[in-house]
Symmetry: C2
Subunit: 206 residues, 2 copies
């Protein structure tokens, strides 16, 4: 018996290069889950193979800004000239239908989500060590030393944000990290703050 029927908003975040996407995909490959992934909105160009409404909602800058103005974005940010963000409507609908909605987003966006939906479950994906993450950032693409240093500096700032999260999950093995996240989701459903209301109702039923 699940005491509460509403789904959880699960925010998976962490420093760039830590493997958030890989962990999220492993999570979705697990059996018997009721997870749904929130598709982001972006103004960047669609790349070959991408599907509108699946990989992203591809919109014009004008439309994106209209969504911001109307308070329809749960979080958004501008990277390299393009907007990226999370539309709110679909999320509420999915949560109400009992699905766990997973967001895989940057640290900056995660802070915005927590402010708007304080009931969300904030999970920080951490690397096994700082060095391991630096190595991954250095190997990415063929960037200049300056770009690499900027990335490392950004990761260092992002590390500091871990303290604002509910959970820290080390991405040592992707399957372990996914297992831990699944345990967190189950445990969160049993949290007194989420269940007390329906528990009291249950007690008063005949």
């Amino acid at each position: 018996m699940k005491l509460n029927d509403r789904g959880l908003l699960v925010v998976i975040s962490g420093p760039s290069g830590v493997g958030k996407g890989t962990v999220r995909r492993a999570l979705f490959e697990m059996p018997n889950h009721n997870l749904t992934y929130s598709v982001s909105m972006t103004t960047r160009q669609m790349r070959p193979g991408e599907v509108d409404g699946k990989d992203y909602y591809f919109v014009s800058e004008e439309e994106f800004k209209k969504n911001i103005a109307e308070g329809k974005m749960l979080e958004y940010a501008k990277f390299v000239g393009n907007y990226y963000g999370t539309p709110k409507d679909k999320i509420e609908e999915d949560l109400d239908s009992g699905k766990e909605v997973v967001l895989e987003i940057e640290v900056e966006g995660a802070t915005q989500v927590k402010a708007q939906m304080p009931d969300c479950v904030m999970i920080f994906i951490a690397p096994p060590s700082k060095e391991a993450l630096y190595e991954r950032l250095k190997k990415r693409g063929t960037d200049s030393d300056k770009t690499i240093q900027e990335r490392i500096d950004k990761a260092d700032r992002e590390f500091e944000c871990a303290k604002n999260y509910d959970y820290i999950v080390v991405n040592d093995e992707v399957s372990n990290a996914a297992d831990r996240i699944m345990a967190i989701i189950r445990a969160e459903h049993a949290k007194t703050k989420r269940t007390l209301h329906s528990y009291i109702e249950l007690l008063n039923e005949k």
Copy 2:
């Protein structure tokens, strides 16, 4: 990788008759756990088949009171003329060695444990409905109507305590309840309040 090596103190409690003992035993039958059960101390007579140091530590009232006076009891209470309680020393030792220490205790004792060890994980086992619990209490032994009513009144007071717990786990199916408790233990190990310290150490390692 486990960020924190110290075990958790897991308090399993709930109203009399809810099946705490059955859930606890199912938990210990699960594979791959690192749980240990804290043996209680009592002044009541040993029953046939019981083993000292396994079922209980059987001691005299004088010895029990000495333990209380020396601050060696994590919690204790007197039921029907006998003392029952949890000795502290062994628990600290087990937690330091990384074991999860499980206490299966009455609601009154659980409150004492929380006060002394606020880091513990408090789990309230709830019945699928009030009626289901009343039925169980009525069927127990061959008690008088007065005794049964006293038990029901006690259960009603105990229901109210659920709000002081971290989690509410409904004992609908014993194996489900045990599964949920195991998920709670895994999740609690990833809690930022428990992991942040070792996470920071990890970041500063070369």
